[in-house]
């Protein structure tokens, strides 16, 4: 009996005891719209302490504080842009997972486009190179090449 039931129970217990990653504290919102905005903002804002986690996923002190701050600002009727501006003023562009297009982030935005263009140019250049190379043999060269091939064959026989 235990052969079947015990693993089943074990699985159930483990799945119950594993804490969920995100919801560290639960906030009550006046409307679902506010909750949606809170969730969206804490997902797009980056934890300043951790290198690659957003506010929603991070367990660090600063993320907890900033979630509370977002909650306060959402409740106070501030717009998403106002909240983003508040965060950027304190923690710089680092806090945005979607950085704005400006001089310091120029490389970030343009590098992929430039790399694709370079890639395409390289392919075109190499193809052209191949075609001209095969065409470029003149009669004299071809005769010489044939002679070499013939000689090689005789040697190997």
């Amino acid at each position: 009996m235990c052969k079947w039931l015990c693993p089943l129970w074990l699985t159930l217990l483990i799945s119950l005891s594993t804490p969920s990653v995100a919801a560290i504290e639960t906030y009550q919102f006046a409307s679902p719209q506010l909750a949606d905005r809170f969730n969206a903002l804490t997902e797009e804002l980056r934890c300043p302490k951790c290198q690659n986690q957003n506010l929603a996923d991070s367990d660090s002190i600063i993320s907890k504080d900033l979630r509370r701050q977002v909650k306060l600002m959402v409740d106070a009727g501030q717009s998403d842009d106002q909240i983003r501006a508040f965060m950027v003023q304190r923690y710089g562009d680092f806090i945005l997972y979607d950085p704005p297009f400006k001089t310091q982030t120029l490389v970030l935005w343009l590098a992929p486009v430039v790399l694709v263009i370079i890639g395409v140019m390289v392919v075109i250049f190499m193809r052209r190179g191949k075609v001209t190379a095969s065409v470029a043999l003149n009669d004299q060269e071809r005769a010489k090449l044939d002679a070499l091939i013939k000689q090689q064959k005789e040697n190997s026989e």
């Binding site: 600063i62 504080d65 003023q89 562009d93 001209t132």
Partner: protein, 187 residues
Amino acid sequence: MSEDKHPSWQRLLLLIPVLLAFGLGLFLYQGLGKDPNKLESSLLGQQVPDFIGESLAEPVRAISRADILGTPSLLNVWATWCPTCKAEHAYLNELVAREGVRIIGVNYHDQRGPAQEWLVRLGNPYAFSIYDPKGQLGIELGVIGAPETYLVDADGTIVDKLTGELNERTWAQLKPQYEALMARQSQ
């Protein structure tokens, strides 16, 4: 005959990948020394935001922005749970004794009892400490973690910010600016 196939301008094109690789190398190289934990705070050059906190020593005493003005000061974010704060504590004491620097503490996400005990045990370098158990002042200042040290001028403008331990080496970065502020102050 190869000269016919590849005119000199075409040969120059062959240099492009080399130049690109070199440029990319340079770009990546200058990123090597950067500390990924060091963030640009946009508050540099701006005023310390308005705040009202309470004194760590006396719960009834309110502390506001006005209390930190008047003379160039260091705003040092510390906590008893932070090992680096403990490491730098002796240096803070030394800085006060040796150079008479005014250091104001921000007791960050801590408990009053252990924090007061810590100051008794290790010495108190702070003119006063602001008790910030919920990190609200921390958010206003853009604090990411402890320890952090802000250099603030007499008018409450944030001049520079140091993330991590304050010691001989890092104080050397802040000191020229601090001395310039002091010189301006005494004029």
